[in-house]
Amino acid sequence: MEEKVKISEPEEEIILNMGPQHPSTHGVLRIILKLSGEKIVSAKPDIGYLHRGVEKLGETVTYVQFLPMLDRNDYLSATTNELGLVLAVEKLANIPVPERAQYIRVLFSELSRLASHLVWLGTFCLDLGGALGGGTSVFLFCFREREKILDIFEKMTGSRMHPHLMQYGGVRYDVYPGMDKDVKEILDLMEERINEYEEMLVNNPVFIDRTKGVGILPKEVAMEYGCSGPVLRGSGVKYDLRKAHPYSSYDKFDFEIPVGENGDVFDRFKVRMEEMRQSVRIVRQALEGLPEGPITSQMPVKVKVAVRTPPGEVYTAIESPRGELGYYICSDGKPNAYRLKIRAPSFSNLSVLPYLLKDHLVADIVAILGSLDPVFGDVDR
């Protein structure tokens, strides 16, 4: 990276311990930095502060009991977390899903993608700090809009953050009367606001200075590390699981995959902003084309039916707001999994951090970390 500030030669290397109580480490991350002056010689991330043993829990409780726990795994996009496991079990046990349920799944996955990206945008700008005209203003704007989306979740399922919407064979709740009006109101507002925020940020010289040319991730490195989602697409790889391996009738929707060019922080920002616009498009199509019919092929979950799967192995992956979220299940025919592996997108995306931080200045850490959008419930599991 080109040095923007002239720094005199330091005498010796020092070790700086950043986190886990640092405000911009998104909760619980500790980075052991080796510094030569202001420059980072090496960085060692230390994770695991939020490790709850979700995979071990998945082996001890039944599939039906495990589903609401997944809401707490990646707590910013609960519906996509449930969708992944539900698809894996349905594939293994051959449970059919009615088309109406598939559309409702798409609708709420995209709404939670919007909500999740809004949190990312808010916290990212908060991390970059007061240089953006007031510091907390973008953060508060984003949370104001997100609250409106969470209101829809609350009206539909009774819970804002942990909806527990999915069920094996369909969804638990049908859309309530008048929902399309509520959602359309938000979509109109969002379209306007996304443009407003982008205009506000890309015309800010301080924002451009801190993001352009910082944290460049080449295509080949991103692939080797298993980066996915906006991090991979920001590096110029046109790969989205919704298009590459369509699930839950995503092939019936018309949307674009935004890609970046240089793979720096600014490109990852651009990709996420464009993704929000595409999500708005998908939600509109899902509302218009919502087919009639039943919402589930199984008995309601209130009647205690143990979902059993035949012995075997399965892996399904979905595109969560952070990237490839996959579930590998090894089953021995019981109502609980023999082994359940969660392929967490944040884990792989974060593992590229030592590569990205090398030779950058200390002030760039928060910009690079924020652009990876890690959720630590997802990293540590």
Partner: protein, 152 residues
Amino acid sequence: MKREKIKEELKLEETKDGFLVFKSSEFYHVMERIKKDFPYLSFITAVHFPQEKAFDVIYAFRNIDEPEIIFLKTKIKEEEKLPSAYKFYKGADWMEREIYDLFGIEFENHPDLRRIVLPEDWEGHPLRKDYPINKAPEKYDYRKKPVLRRED
């Protein structure tokens, strides 16, 4: 399809769920071939079978240009070591550390094999089937070992 090609070239057996089985002694040969067509490492994981005293180690790779996924599987004994895939895929660093942490499988030629999600003095490997799950957790005492060490 590139998957079929690799299956024929390396003479791999296929399980009923579509996982290709390879011998751990041929590890480097297989990885070198896979890297050519599947440059994206998706995940590595393991499954413990206490009756057979063995592990299944599972690798998943993706091809980005022509969307395709390939699953590989190898069986190793409990005390056996496995070569590290770090030489071919840098992302294997953290994934193998996670397996070492939770299963206790050791990887040869790994650059930095330490525990990743649990504290360094944790006893046992939780995702093994013989790990006692009703045992009360031990408290981590930072006074016994300093949190930050200079040699890091």
